[in-house]
């Protein structure tokens, strides 16, 4: 955390190396969050890029007052996703592109994982927006409950309750699907 605080302070002074390190640290996590929320790879790529450009432009406004940098960054991603979903006129039909990259080299395993992920993405669409958010942040981007609470502006207790209801709903959607 100390290391991250130092990196953020340097990035706020326009230290390019520090910002590049933060970018590498969070790029995959933000991308995964955006893909799951949007369900379309091409659009997710544009949104992810915009998240980091927005962060670059507004990093000087970030204040280290109990809010971790990760929560601030995911908050930008959340706003970007909400903005995208608001503007979007119709739901993307290509729920999961075939070209979605899976981090395994075994072709059999890749096919199985792709089916699992496709099923998961279809199932999450049946959840409420808040439930989708908690699933994406907690299980796909691997944030802690405390971090999710900061991103969503809720107490940890509220996040735990939401997490419970989200898993119950997800289980139901997965068993139906």
């Amino acid at each position: 955390m100390q290391d991250e605080e130092n990196l953020v302070r340097r990035a706020q002074q326009r230290d390019q190396k520090a910002f590049a390190q933060l970018y590498e640290r969070y790029f995959d996590k933000i991308y995964r969050y955006v893909v799951l929320r949007i369900g379309n790879k091409t659009e997710a790529e544009d949104v992810t890029q915009q998240v980091f450009l927005n962060a670059l432009q507004s990093i000087s406004s970030f204040r280290w007052k109990g809010v971790p940098f990760s929560a601030w960054l995911f908050r930008i991603a959340h706003n970007q996703v909400v903005d995208y979903l608001r503007k979007k006129t119709r739901q993307a039909t290509e729920s999961l592109d075939e070209s979605l990259v899976i981090s395994k080299s075994d072709p059999q395993l890749v096919v199985e994982q792709r089916l699992d992920i496709e099923q998961l993405m279809l199932a999450t669409k049946q959840l409420t927006k808040a439930q989708q958010e908690v699933i994406a942040l907690r299980f796909v981007s691997e944030l802690s409950t405390a971090q999710v609470a900061k991103v969503m502006g809720k107490s940890e207790g509220a996040v735990k309750a939401l997490q419970h209801s989200a898993i119950v709903a997800l289980r139901k959607a997965l068993s139906v699907g």
Binding site: R32, I102, F139, V140
Partner: protein
């Protein structure tokens, strides 16, 4: 109410063990036998949700996004604590260089413009270029200057390849890369007027809204170099000494990627 809060805490603890600490579902159930029946299906669903964490960005997207992010980073100037004096200092530096160059004589400057990296006037050439860039007010103008500077760097790389000087090729390639990264940043800004720095003022506005022909000229210039520069470097590769070839290949890669990005940013 209290019971459900307790269960939420137990579920969260098990998830933490499962997701972060590498524990298993069975271990969690063994820790909470009374809640095991309710916990098990939820933990299985959480494990299913976790499968999406293997999704990764496409390598091409990762490379493109990284390049554009670094271009945006490069385009941002270091933060200045005293903007007025910072601005003043930049102009003082530019004026000082101009004075030195004038004192050195117009002939020296003219001779320096064609000097090569192993020549004595080469530092004068680089200093003149800095002034040229600093005194060009608009983004479009700067982009054109950078394109011309990239052309100079390619000529120098070919010259140093013939000399077999791999180290110098790498140094000049870094300069070429810097020019192209700045060019991508500026062309992105030309395409998206809202990201122009406020300090660009009316000059930036004219480029974006009133300089369609100039922008078209810039595009033609970049498109021409995007073909000619890698071709000229590949040509040099055929006759270059073996020791210079790896450095030359790096220069080719930089020129291909740089122009491609600049054209994409303009389209």
């Amino acid at each position: 109410m209290k019971k459900s809060r307790e269960f939420n805490d137990i579920l969260d603890e098990c998830l933490e063990r499962l997701l972060v600490k590498g524990g298993t579902i069975e271990e969690c159930l063994a820790s909470y036998p009374e809640q095991a029946v309710e916990l098990e299906p939820l933990l299985q669903a959480a494990v299913a949700a976790r499968k999406a964490s293997v999704i990764q960005p496409r390598p091409e997207f990762r490379a493109k996004a990284r390049y554009q992010f670094h271009s945006a980073l490069q385009a941002m100037e270091p933060k200045k604590s005293r903007p007025f004096f910072g601005w003043q200092r930049r102009w003082v530096t530019a004026v000082t260089i101009v004075l030195v160059l004038l004192l050195a004589g117009g002939g020296t400057v003219a001779a320096a413009s064609s000097s090569m990296p192993d020549g004595t006037l080469y530092p004068v050439k680089l200093a003149t270029e800095q002034v040229w860039l600093a005194l060009t007010p608009s983004s479009l103008g700067k982009a054109k200057v950078l394109t011309k500077l990239a052309d100079r760097r390619v000529t120098e790389i070919i010259y140093m390849a013939n000399e077999g000087n791999a180290q110098q090729i790498d140094v000049i390639t870094q300069r070429l890369d810097k020019h192209l990264v700045m060019l991508v940043g500026l062309t992105s800004a030309l395409k998206a007027p809202q990201v122009l720095a406020p300090s660009e003022g009316a000059e930036g506005g004219r480029d974006v809204f009133g300089g369609a022909n100039s922008q078209a000229e810039l595009r033609i210039m970049i498109a021409r170099y995007a073909i000619n520069h890698p071709a000229a470097l590949r040509n040099a590769l055929k006759t270059a000494p073996e020791s210079a070839k790896p450095a030359l290949r790096r220069a080719i890669a930089v020129s291909v990627a740089g122009y491609e990005e600049a054209l994409m940013a303009l389209d």
